[in-house]
């Protein structure tokens, strides 16, 4: 077992375990914390794949931004000590069944499929390269999606403010 394999399995184990805990924990703040672990481990996977820039974004935006936002709203809407009621079995069983069948189906398909055995590059993706691509509008340039995403974020920000604003009435 190479070190990479080991690291991958480690991260995977963390991701799977904490994912399960995220969706089963009855204390909501803990669930948010477990989600944070999952997202951080995902960032670890990105590091493993030599996407350092992406991993950094994952940490900053996801772990740093979104999870904080979620925790913030949890604090606004519930008591920390509050335990969520457990879902009824009538809901759990069909959901679990669907999830298992779906997962099984996907895994079987993945294992049956013969992916080409490319080795993959171990090179680090340079930030200069990323930056050039983002503001490039030629081939392999992402200026347009970048701008679109900027506008989307702006719109989301305004929308969130308008929605959450206190009504005057």
């Amino acid at each position: 077992m190479t070190s990479n394999q080991f690291m991958f399995l480690l991260f995977s184990a963390v991701i799977v375990i904490f994912s399960i805990l995220t969706v089963t924990s009855r204390r909501i703040l803990r669930a948010a914390t477990f989600l944070l672990f999952v997202l951080a481990s995902t960032a670890g996977l990105y590091f493993l794949l030599k996407y350092n820039f992406l991993a950094a974004i994952q940490l900053i935006v996801y772990a740093g931004g979104i999870v904080v936002l979620i925790i913030f709203s949890i604090l606004l809407t519930s008591h920390i000590a509050e335990k969520l009621p457990s879902a009824s079995l009538m809901k759990k069983w069909p959901a679990a069944l669907v999830a298992l069948v779906g997962a099984a189906l996907a895994i079987v398909v993945i294992l049956q499929y013969n992916f080409p055995g490319s080795v993959g590059s171990t090179e680090l993706v340079d930030v200069t390269q990323v930056g050039n691509s983002l503001i490039n509008y030629g081939k392999y340039g992402y200026a347009l999606p970048f701008e679109v995403i900027s506008i989307l974020l702006l719109a989301a920000m305004i929308g969130a403010i308008v929605l959450a604003k206190k009504r005057k009435d």
């Binding site: 991958f8 799977v16 994912s19 997202l39 996801y62 709203s73 959901a95 993959g120 392999y140 995403i149």
Partner: protein, 105 residues
Amino acid sequence: MFEGVPLSWFLILSTIMFFIGVYGFLVRKNLITILMSTELILNSVCINFVAFNKILYPEHMEGMFFTVFIIAVAAAEASVAIAIIINIYRRIVNIDVEKMNEMKY
């Protein structure tokens, strides 16, 4: 294969994560936990993109950029969703998804 890690491992991991997210989406009652399940689902998709990019087309960067954009979209979505949740909470002092069924027949 990436330094000994086959592509299928990534895909299986993301599949498991995805269906855990689906399970959470279907089972949890609190709107915020449902939002968290959605984040799990998005994240599993990101892993897929990145792994495909790195192992099948290492000379390109589409998968990576797609992931970047997904993260941005997730951020936007989370902010709007939370604004909505807070709004709902203000109205009915509850964010239990089962209680929000005004749209039925």
